[in-house]
Amino acid sequence: MVTKGVSLTNGIVFIASLQHLDPSMPHYTADTWTFIRGAASTIDRDLGFIGKYLWHNANETHVLHHHIGTIPHYHAVQATEAIKPIMGVHYHRNTSGMVGIMDTFIKLGRACQWVESSVGSVGDGKGVLFFQGIGHIKQKGAIVKGNSATKVSLR
């Protein structure tokens, strides 16, 4: 409750961090990383009024920014619409809006604390690291289950 109350006032300046953080998106070790994998592990979040009018859609078009960094912000919305059908399921977007993002933000703080490879992964799979957090562990009632068991999308 304390966190929530404070975050609501402070949250407006807070939420932009979320473009590289989501339990559904992996990080990669140097061996398994490729540019396109890295660029696809970003997320667009809809920040409503703030994103649209104050931050020039920086959060709404971040996936595009990482694929084609030379497109200026004033064309980014249009270009994002264009890459959506091409990227298909690889395109991550959060449409919870300005209010829903607060909840997401609180959950992310618990869920995204460190990264580790999923339990039971073999070979190259070991180089794909997912977020894990104490919040997740506690939520599931069991400690150290590994990410595959506890992965929850917050979108």
Partner: protein, 258 residues
Amino acid sequence: MAFSQYTTLNDAIGLILHSALLVPYFSWKITHKHHHKGVGNMATDTAFTPPTRLSFAQGFNKTIEEIAEVAEDAPIYSFFVTLIQQLFTWQAYTLIMMGVGENWFERKAAKEKVESPEKNEDGTIRRTYGLSGSLFNPYSPYFNELDARFIIITDAAILVTFLLLHWVGRTYGWGNLILWYCIPYVLINSCVSKLQTFPQSLSSWFPISLINFAFHSFLSNTLFTSFLRRILLGIRIFLSSIATCYFSQRGNQRCFTD
């Protein structure tokens, strides 16, 4: 090239606007380029690189299980973490290499001519923070020899901003300076740090490292963790005993052994 087709004009405008907000323009331009070149790569990314399980646990000098036990659902802890992040993430990022991939620490060790840097159990380099990795340092691991002069220009611009702020404070009063610049700075700053650096964001390894950084000098880790545990458990027991007393008729015995 979103502003003009002339790089020099872009850089000039960028330098003025960034420096006015005390942001090192060329340093950030270069590290942001590295961020794009290695986004999501645990070794080469320069922003939002999360800790591994091992380094997260190392931050507390405890196992994950023990940390989970201590920090279980503690709103005050989350609040503390949030506050620290809001206020200091960006500064830590610019000053002591917070939230960057392990390759940069290897480069730092190479630049400082450390013969055999300390390794973690999983073979990665042990992170050593310090001002030599600062974005204001022309010879920090992010930059090559050709970049150095741009970093010096950046530093000069930041210095000019400080002088201007000082002049404003002297002329119009320090209270006005706080109202006009410092308060908006904190707001914009936390916005910026969330936007571009962390960590880690929310990458929780920043506060943990900061706690380490802050407490290592005058408290041992063990002491600190027991301190944290005591406070958190104390709050929980206090609240639950109040609740028990309030809602049950069984008397004090139960409250204080709970």
